[in-house]
């Protein structure tokens, strides 16, 4: 509760730090903000060519939308995934990058983590807006589902914030954390149904004569649920399962609480160690 109040009291600082993040991101580049759209565009292109054309991954037909376009199928999951991936990797670095500030001025240091994620959130919203526009042009009437999309974005932001708080403090003490996460990120990417539909994951996997319920294990990953919910709303035009939303919410809120707790513990000697 205290933490919430502190966030609220320093909301102006938070918005200023987010502005700093946004203003400085594309300073001195000729294309500027165009880059924030060019980057996802290039990855969509790559995944479409490799998975859609070469490997012939078939997008499932959306129910009830009737949509079957692989690029749209990809976009609905890839854009949220990018927010997750960039949010985690950049927020982990946020304390080390701002070491000078931490050593010389006092302010709640969580704000550095939060503002990094805040900056990416703005980019994510813009990208999501573009995706929604594309979906509307393609005939997917997503507008009625937007309130739930907003809820999902909030839950995802909390999820990223929780992981950021949990790991950014640790990264100050052990710089390996960042490398470890960089190693883990591609694994997470391929164990989440972004470039392929979840139906490609076998329900049971026979190993040495024993049956492992692979799909159930796979679905324990909250990112699977998250990506699934985005797809249900944007691609299928249907309500995601309540169980899935609740599962995401438990992970998000739980991680924020744990993250904040750990951060408070590590905050103690931050100015000396960073």
């Amino acid at each position: 509760m205290n933490q919430l109040r502190e966030y609220y009291e320093r909301r102006e600082l938070l918005s200023n730090l987010v502005l700093r993040e946004l203003r400085s991101r594309y300073k001195r580049s000729a294309l500027g903000w165009t880059w924030s759209l060019l980057n996802p565009l290039s990855s969509v292109l790559i995944y479409w060519v490799v998975f859609g054309v070469f490997l012939k991954v078939k997008a499932p037909i959306g129910d009830p939308s009737g949509q079957g376009n692989f690029v749209l199928f990809l976009l609905c999951a890839l854009i949220p995934w990018n927010f997750f991936s960039n949010g985690v990797t950049q927020s982990i670095e946020s304390l080390v990058v701002n070491a000078g500030l931490i050593r010389k001025v006092y302010f709640p240091r969580e704000l550095l983590v939060a503002s990094t994620i805040g900056g990416l959130l703005v980019t994510f919203m813009i990208e999501l807006g573009v995706v929604i526009a594309i979906l509307l042009i393609a005939g997917n009437m997503v507008l009625p589902w937007l309130p739930i999309v907003v809820l999902l974005v909030i839950l995802q932001t909390l999820l990223v914030l929780g992981i950021g708080l949990l790991l950014s403090g640790a990264n100050v003490y052990f710089r390996d954390v960042r490398h470890f996460v960089n190693l883990l990120m591609p694994m997470l990417f391929y164990s989440t149904p972004v470039v392929y539909p979840i139906s490609y994951v076998p329900v049971n996997w026979q190993v040495a004569g024993r049956s492992i319920p692979l799909r159930s294990i796979y679905e324990m990953n909250p990112l699977v649920q998250l990506v699934g919910a985005y797809r249900a709303l944007l691609y299928d035009l249907t309500f995601p399962s309540i169980g899935s939303l609740a599962y995401i919410a438990v992970w998000s809120i739980g991680l924020v609480l744990i993250g904040q707790f750990v951060f408070n513990r590590l905050d103690h000697r931050l100015a000396e160690e960073v």
């Binding site: 102006e12 200023n16 400085s24 500030l101 001025v105 052990f174 100015a271």
Partner: protein
Amino acid sequence: MTAAVIVDHVSKRYRLYHERNQSLKASLLRGRRARYEDFMALNDVSFEIKEGTAFGLIGENGSGKSTMLKCMARILRPDGGSITTRGKLSALLELGAGFHPELSGRENVYLNGAILGLSRREIDARFDEIVDFSGIEQFIDAPVKNYSSGMYVRLGFAVAINVDPAVLLIDEVLAVGDQEFQNKCTEKISQFRREGRTIVVVSHALSSVRELCDEVALIEHGRLIQVGPAIDTIDHYLTEILSIDPATLGIARRSTGEIKLQGVELMGESGVLPGATALGDSVTFRIHFDALKPVSDPVFGMSLTSSDGVLVTGTNSRDQGLSLEISTGPGWIDLVVPRLLVSPGRYHVTGTIYDTTQMAPIHEVGDLHAFEVVEGNPKTSGIMSLGGTWRAGA
């Protein structure tokens, strides 16, 4: 009077790593713990800073005084004890610390202001004043990476000073910028004092600490040695820790005040000199005093300091075996100099009266008198003349 800052049994431990485990592998190979030694930067320090006063922290390098300031600024958290502050606190630890090089001066003013706890509306209201104070109107929309270091610091100071703090922490930062800007800073700090705000200063410049501060705390090896009136603490620091005779620095110390130095008159052969004398002339320094009660056998001292602060010479009445009995009321004592052999320039006279043990000062004045020495006979170079005579050899 209420306390603006209460420092209550504060301890701060630093870890001095021998081999630091900044990688997980190193940590696993060497066991869970990194090898480090605890270093007590602050050890059970307690004091109070009264509201509306100026408080100084002195001590040698590494004594813990800056750590103390950082604890007050909440940058570091003490391992033991607590620090309570009343009202808003602003720290001038490093000016412009929050500046982003790629952003303009204007954007950075808003950003830095927000970091220091100002709302957007408050910054709007003070923006003109901040820019005006920094004196960089024409560059305010240029990225700060193009600023000179002086401009950078000026803008940083202007923002920090406009936070409107009840308590202002200063760490040696005033030794930056040109003379004009330093005067501006000094004036601003005097204004803060007049407005009844609390100021905490960490500095090595003892004379400015003495001028500015009401109370001073001396910290050595993380422990509080002494806290009290500025003159007492500085005196203790100089004599006990630095082993410097304060009289030679022209820094007045506490005095019992039984005899007060009134002034010095320079007398030539033909009466009182109008503040100037020539090299080689005969001069008498007449030291006037006023005794509040009879004092038996005090020791009078006098030293000359050149305008660039060099102690040129010092002498006292005990060295010549002069025994004095001072009775109540005004009086004077002469130092007769047959030939004044210091080179032309301006000199300051420090006067001292010590008790008979030469341990306790009765009165000291750092700048009792100033006078000019002009070219005379003999001519000389350097800081003095030998007064010798050349003679032809065989």
